[in-house]
Amino acid sequence: MLTNKVFIKKTKSGGVMKIVREHYLRDDISCGSPACDKDCEALDRYPLEEKPISDSKLVPVPHYIVPDTNVVLHQIDILEDPSVKNVIILQIVLDEIRHRSAPIYKRVKDMLCNSAKCFYTYCNEFNMHTYVERKPKESANDRNDRAIRKAVGWYADHLIKAGIEVVLLTNDADNRKQAVAEDLMAFTVHDYVKSLSNQSLIDRLANPLNQSSDFGGKTLFPEHLGLAEIQKGIRSGKYLQGTLLISRENYLEANVSVRDQENMVFVQGLYNLNRAVNDDNVVIEMLPEAEWSCPSSMVMREDDAKDEEDEANESMTDTETLIRNKVPKELRQPTGHVVGIIKRNWRQYCGILQPSVIMERTRHLFIPAEKRIPKIRIETRQAQTLMSKRIIVAIDSWPRNSRYPLGHFVRCLGEVGDKDTENEVLLLEHDVPHANFSEAVLSFLPKMPWTITEEEEKRRRDLRHLDICSVDPPGCTDIDDALHCRELENGNYEVGVHIADVSHFIRPGNALDQEAANRGTTVYLTDKRIDMVPDLLSSNLCSLRCDVFRFAFSVIWEMTKDADIVKTDFTKSIILSKASLTYAQAQIRIDDQNDHGNLTKSLRGLNSLAKILKKKRLDNGALSLASTEVRFHVDSETHDPIDVQTKELRETNSMVEEFMLLANVAVAEKILHEFPDNALLRRHPSPPSSNFGPVIKAAESKGFEIDVSSGKALADSLDKAVVPENPYFNIMLRIMTTRCMMQAVYFCSGMLQPSDYMHYGLAAPVYTHFTSPIRRYSDIIAHRLLAVSIGADSSYQDLLDKSKIQKVCNNLNFRHKMAQYAGRASVNLHTHLFFKKRIQDEEGYVLFVRKNALQVLIPKYGLEGTVFLNDENKKSSSIFVYNEEESTQTAGDVIFHVFDPVIVQLSIDRSNVQHMKLSLKLVKPQVPGFSVPSASESSEQQEMDTSSGTSLSSKSNADVGKPPQKKKKKR
């Protein structure tokens, strides 16, 4: 049966179009229930249960649930609860969800795929019996509601003999009334959830907007503009649209990155932020120039737990004073205020409950772990049990008369401070997918025992006779690279880099590939590793372990003794690694005069070539920047960090690194040549000279000039800036330079001009990642591209589509960044655990001088901390005088400059349970009334049972510099 869907649309140019679409109605759509006795099509697998157990007092018979759109959108957390099953999502509801909220749509789809949840999508729009035509004078929403009721009615009729009822859940009173009039069962979500025996769900009920509770309170915020007005304003240029980024230093200030505009617009104060939350897509209006302001150069401190009313009063006055302080003209930045919100980007937030004075109250404040998110008001009866736990909360709305947004409790993670819970929080907050690999994903793994088939042998070059070995950190199980080197008859060397052939096992498009693409990278926490690919591949079949045959993707060069490349060859191969060495073992072998074995000769050859290659790179202008590298010794039983040790760098580290770089460059050139439009490459844009401000200033203070005109110039000036009495000065300068760097990113070659391909840090015109496919997805794509270009594998559609490759790059960049943040947060966590039991005095250097604080770097732990200069209670005026131009703080005779050595006392400040801070107090130089006496030097020397070593990474932006972590992180 055929009808036509007709509607009128207005085109952008002002024209009017009448759109006519065909709409075919069918009668062969199955109802999805195995209990159906009518002639519905038999399915292999029935999504709905035959005897749905009824848990509700309102509906004592077996029943299926049909929610309407708003119920799904607002109460998704309840639907996700494992006890909620047998839900029918109508096609019309699903379509509306897709249009209104992409993240919720994804969650609904996941539930639909999950067979345990027993969800079913019923295509009511295509079924002859349940399709409704829009009546004259009926709005689109009314028509949709009518369609939902019709579908429910049809279902009820259909299953009447099977004895299963169908219940409509909707919070729309009108809809409910009409449903009841049509003899259907309809309830609000609240009534239904309250009637369930599982009472914990009640806590999860979200407060819809129109139920904004009685805070009585005045309207604190201006109204948000409606969509139509916003669109008009944007078109006329009166309003600007952009994403809100709350400042990390001050939670009351934010920048809006406006579309199509380079400069960010500044927004200051709670009132001007007008209920916008970090990452929301907002609409702002510029303030008149006289009201422009600038970020305060103070570092905002954590608010202590205050009672709500107090807090409200205080913050508002705070902002008023902020506004009243007239900012000098030169420092003013374009400032605006939020007038409307286009799209909220709320997610679920981890955090803790704020201890409330009155425990019996049901309303509590939730403090998120993420500092940029405001506190959230939730209703819960379990406050007592949840008080010391980490919980997850989702925001529902932020009414105008409420100081805080309103939300609801989702679930509990565990005790605060418990290592596993904290790890979980870390992973959730950084959006790291860490669930176990699903059945679907595991089904694509090869069946064990795995052997090499004859077919494969024919397709690959047999390199099992070569003396290949791998060199990795101790305890490494995922070996992705191996090397060999041998002399040829003509006096040249043959050097080979063999990389695990992961792309052979992970075929494009299947669930395993999709999961790896989503994860993007292996995430390294100090005590845990979240793998990108399942263990079978990463530690076994792909890993180039010694004494077993393994598949590899090899890059083989012929080069002269002076490391000039004569020939480059790429091939898929089978290798047999003769030894899996650690860096230390390899170094010992090279240094051993009596060892003349082939393997050792190969290592020596590699070593000497590597040195030449490195020199060439540095001459070319590659940067060698510093990072602070430390290793934690972890107690094998409690897994608490015992002591810290700086990492040693041996020649062998550098040797492996050089060849990995060489391989990456060779592959980059090859795939760019073959696929100029869609090669996946890595670039490092050169930083604008303004970024180098602090470094230049700091070097000037010691009389050195830093030339930032080019990479080579920078490298040379850094080499020259050495103060013999203070060897750490040069390292600190390099650390500061590292922070000026831009982030290196993945990109698709077709999206940028060739002049933008360069990698500033490595001084290479093109670069990609090829050598670690086990832990990075970008390498898998590079493998696939290379395989197609040498004819070793077939291509597939998405590989050749440059916009798809760019999308992959965008995801990889995001995951990479999040993985770095997660790693750093994990390190912070362990640092705090380490200092839990100690107070120690350490040497440090002043890195930055701020208005109310000194930022100090402690080389031994690779830590950075802040010494606050004002008094905590702000009663007495500060004894320090801040000189902004010279960047100094003066107190009496003592002047603090950048790079000054100091001694500070480290301890843990436990006043805020979620954000335990490292508290630094000044010991030397002595400032009366401020410095503290030195601590007693009783450090506990426990037995060092080293099981696993953990490393601290530095806060480097680019991945230039000595890589830390279990696995060598290549640039």
Binding site: I8, K9, K10, V16, K18, I19, R134, A228, K232, S236
Partner: protein, 288 residues
């Protein structure tokens, strides 16, 4: 028009029979042939109609667009005609063969509807001085069986009757006035076509004249007048065509006939259209 070759005998027969108020298919001089009208065939137009007058087949589609006003008439809507002589009608219309005929007919229809009293043009104005509705009336000639002008004007009137113009809401803003077109397919207004004219062609054969000439009769006629006549008998346009000459008396006779016939034709057309709309069935079109 397709060439029809007539023998002398046939021509004589036609001439003489007209004198006796007989035509070769049995009609009287002021009778129209059997005609079929159907509206609402083409779903992606705002209005459409098909007229089949014996073997003349015409299809009209009306599309509306918002457009800037005509500076000379800033308070009224506009209408534009376009005729496409399809090669289906006769191979001579292939390529640009039918353009001459098309321009003739378009010109006459434009003049006939150009008179302000024929259609409610002011109601088509959306924003005085700025935006108005522009009606594109596109005529497709599918088969030629004589008396093209009449058939086309019938189809145009029927299509205009069938046209649904979406309602527009205006919202004032600092940046200007925003026009929002209603997306509800039931929210439209209809055009008032009671004043729309119908073209009646009167052919002079011998000393007498006939209305709705078939191709054979047209081949015998040397002169004809086309008149645009409304329901009330008002004449909105007039054109004389043909190689022959007419004297003033015959012209006034012909005009009287045309007026009489035109008034009746208008009435019966509107009645038929009203009946069709009441029935409300889906259009069958060419499938019948």
């Amino acid at each position: 028009m397709a060439d029809v070759n007539l023998s002398e005998a046939e021509k004589t027969f036609i001439l003489h029979s007209v004198q006796d108020n007989f035509r070769d298919d049995g009609r009287s001089c002021e009778d129209f042939r059997h005609m079929e009208i159907e509206t609402g065939l083409i779903s992606n137009t705002n209005g459409s109609a098909r007229v089949r007058l014996a073997s003349t087949d015409v299809l009209v589609g009306v599309k509306v667009q918002l457009s800037p006003v005509d500076p000379e008439n800033p308070e009224v809507g506009r209408m534009e005609f376009f005729l496409d002589c399809s090669a289906n009608a006769t191979p001579e219309f292939e390529g640009r063969g039918g353009e001459e005929l098309a321009s003739e007919i378009t010109a006459l229809l434009t003049r006939a509807y150009g008179c302000p009293s024929t259609m409610d043009y002011p109601s088509l104005c959306v924003l005085p001085g700025q935006q108005c509705w522009l009606l594109y009336v596109d005529i497709l000639l599918l088969e030629c069986g004589g008396n093209l002008f009449d058939a086309m004007s019938l189809a145009v009137k029927a299509a205009l009757f069938n046209t649904k113009v979406p309602n527009v809401t205006m919202t004032k803003d600092e940046g200007g006035i925003e026009l929002d077109v209603s997306d509800d397919p039931y929210d439209f207004k209809r055009l008032d076509v009671t004043g729309a004219p119908l073209v009646v062609t009167v052919n002079k054969i011998g000393h007498f004249h006939v209305v709705d000439a078939s191709e054979k009769e047209e081949a015998c006629s040397l002169a004809r007048i086309m008149l645009g006549v409304t329901q009330t008998g008002t004449i909105t346009a007039m054109k004389k065509e043909g190689s022959g000459s007419l004297d003033a008396d015959s012209i006034s006779d012909m005009m009287e006939s045309a007026k009489k016939v035109g008034v009746l034709l208008n009435k019966s057309l509107l009645k038929a259209l009203g009946e069709e709309e009441e029935q409300g069935t889906e259009a069958v079109g060419f499938l019948r």
